[in-house]
Symmetry: C2
Subunit: 434 residues, 2 copies
């Protein structure tokens, strides 16, 4: 007898059991279909890349989180920690085989060896969609539309997309004479929801002075309505410019499509230390703001600059699939089920197994998910199995029924029986009941 | 100006460009739907596991191929190199949350640092489906049915599933008094297609003697028809037993469903050194036998024995997705396309961008994939873009058309124009043309 190995899973990693995985696949298909309806195309890139490629300019933070090692060929390699850097590398490498603007989506796993606190995993799924090769406000708007339609496709109830523009914020800081501290200020403002207004004021005062801290607080306060907020920002930033015009254009498109509800101009949105240069956005579930943004993104100046001389402006967004799915479950919006099987053919007689498979095949050909119970057992364990898989209908057929060319159909939920049906009648009855 | 990093990809790893990825996703969805129609449920497991868990009993071969390293927490971890061992670990870990028999499918990437010769990759997709917790021939048969229906769902032309039973082969070797050499003999027989008959005879003679080598060669020779072959094997192995009865049962099921074509009893199939104990099978494309088996599997005694005391007999199979897709492409059976976009709204006037998005939304609401060209440019580059994405229809709308409430529709392939259509007429015309 050999030693038993403990079947343990690494901290921060997860098995997905059927009910969860069925729901994940459902959600991913809806998202894929939605992206494709806007002309986005899928790509995939390797899980493992040269560390040099993934590190890029390198930041201490990322470095520490990477799963980095030497492979058997002595190469310095790492697991990807996001889908943006691989996309930049992908664009540079495959540029000659691609057209511009290029609109891609990529739904895949990434790995970060970070602390596994509340809802943070070391392996998680990212769901990115980007448009590169155009600086047009039409592209900014399309990303916003897709954020909205994606969440609607998933029946996410009441969510709001908050947007802002880094260019206006920087103009405002320049106006105040503190543009050189914009990174620290952005970082501080981004913490507003987490650390509260008083602490933000204290930190901003440390970075500038009391008066300027007050002005920053005023700037990031949204007004009632998109246009009034925009006008305030414009005034505080020193007048109209390309950045405010872009927001005006985008809002005009929003109004032309009649989808004003659900979009808010919110100058406190900054996206922290990210590489965004223009528009930025975050999405919150109105009924569950505490889980944070479920879909965030923005515009960046140059995607592939680390790997290529060609300049590729872009705009994109990312759905936090794990966080969103946790949120939907908390809101009771998750459609999770144990299996997709609609009918089970119970096994009454070993001599009839071929007949059972033939029956099941007829149901499958009619478009149903149908399975045969493989062992000839008492009905108790077979019903228990059907219950574990949430199978709503059962077909019961013994040798008498086979001889008569009939089956009995049982509605497992209502405990109703429909006996002596021909196969055609059974197919019709199943259609009625399902 | 910072240094440009070469956007290179590791040897044996690949980017998937849109045309390939669209086709991969199409194929995967068809397979998922087919598995689910038989009551199979999806699961997922971590890409990274404890090395101890993945190594199991440990074989030198596997060990050398694993991407194994120490993580930041000093754990000895590895990337999974197949989906079978993680499934065994999954069953042991989650047993209390699962029912038996458990039928799962798992389509995901695995990593092996092996030599990257002809069509071998270091990152590739496996597509496994297994039934554990039953020893019933009904389950063996179901796996065979799914192999067949999966390949049919993908429109794979002319393929044959070859099956055999290791138990009969072992009884035969026992009969010859050379059962103790069964591993080497299996390994040799498995190489028949690769090294040829003469070399197999030479190796088998080394392992036993000329007479026995001849008998083995006779044993692995299939006869005309399933039952004549089965009768020969039965005679050579010393008479009927559970193993031959199982093959007889399975063949009876095959006949009851009228799917005899496409199944062959072929005693030269052994699955080399795999852990199979009963039935084994391989699938070859009749028009492309050289690429080898595209779907293989068999029955094993105990899936989770390394991780649990519970005995879990099982049967399963695995589709080599990369190999199969390469084969389909070679046979001209690949449906690869550059995008799914059906209509493009050309951008004639920046002032109409909101209107273009509104038009596109109407087409999307009618179920079409429709995109807006984001920049106001001459028609040349816009047509070129549409061509690169294989978009069949274009909508052209300037300010006159907008005022008149019409659009012009252009069939890009036939170069036909349909002018001054109302939106309703355009929707109907698109339906006709697509």
């Amino acid at each position: 007898m050999s030693k038993i190995i403990e079947p343990k899973v690494l901290k921060g990693f997860r098995d997905f059991l059927p009910a969860t995985e069925i729901e994940r696949k459902r959600v991913i298909r809806l998202l894929e279909d939605n992206f494709e309806s806007y002309g986005f195309v899928p790509i995939d890139t390797p899980a493992l890349e040269y560390s040099e490629v993934l590190l890029g300019k390198g930041s201490g933070e990322t470095d520490k989180q990477m799963y980095r090692f030497e492979d058997n060929g002595k190469r310095d390699v790492s697991l990807r920690f996001d889908l943006t850097i691989p996309f930049a590398r992908f664009m540079a490498k495959n540029r000659k085989d691609l057209y511009l603007p290029f609109k891609r989506f990529h739904i895949s796993k990434v790995w970060r060896g970070e602390n596994t606190q509340r809802g943070r995993y070391r392996e998680f799924t990212q769901c990115d969609f980007d448009i590169v090769g155009t600086d047009s406000p039409s592209a900014d708007f399309e990303i916003l539309m897709i954020m909205r339609s994606s969440l609607r496709a998933l029946d996410v109830p009441n969510c709001t997309i908050h947007m802002s523009h880094r260019g206006i914020f920087n103009r405002f800081l320049n106006h105040l004479g503190i543009l050189d501290q914009n990174v620290e200020i952005l970082r501080t403002v981004d913490k507003l929801a987490k650390i509260g207004r008083d602490e933000v004021v204290r930190l901003l005062t440390e970075l500038s002075d009391t008066e300027k801290a007050g002005k920053i607080l005023d700037f990031i306060q949204k007004e009632e309505g998109f246009i009034p907020t925009l006008e305030k920002l414009e005034a505080l930033a020193g007048g109209p410019a390309e950045d405010t015009q872009r927001l005006r254009d985008i809002y005009a498109y929003i109004c032309e499509l009649g989808i004003e509800d659900g979009f808010v101009l919110n100058p406190s949105i900054t996206r922290g230390l990210d590489y965004y240069t223009g528009l930025v956005y975050e999405t919150f579930l109105d009924d569950l703001p505490a889980i944070g943004s479920v879909c965030s993104g923005g515009r960046y100046n140059n995607l592939a600059e680390l790997y290529s001389k060609e300049s590729l402006p872009g705009v994109g967004s990312s759905i936090g699939l794990d966080r969103l799915m946790a949120g939907l479950e908390e809101l009771g919006q998750s459609a999770s089920k144990a299996s997709k099987t609609q009918l089970i053919i119970l096994n009454m007689d070993t001599a009839l197994i071929g007949h059972y498979h033939s029956l099941a095949d007829s149901f499958r050909k009619a478009g149903y998910c149908c399975e045969v119970y493989h062992e000839t057992k008492k009905l108790g364990p077979q019903f228990k199995f059907a219950e574990a898989k949430s199978i709503p209908l059962a077909i019961i057929c013994g040798s008498n029924e086979k001889e008569a060319g009939t089956v009995n159909l049982k509605d497992m939920t209502k405990r109703e029986n429909f006996d002596a049906l021909t196969l055609e009648e059974a197919l019709a009855k199943a259609g009625e009941l399902l």
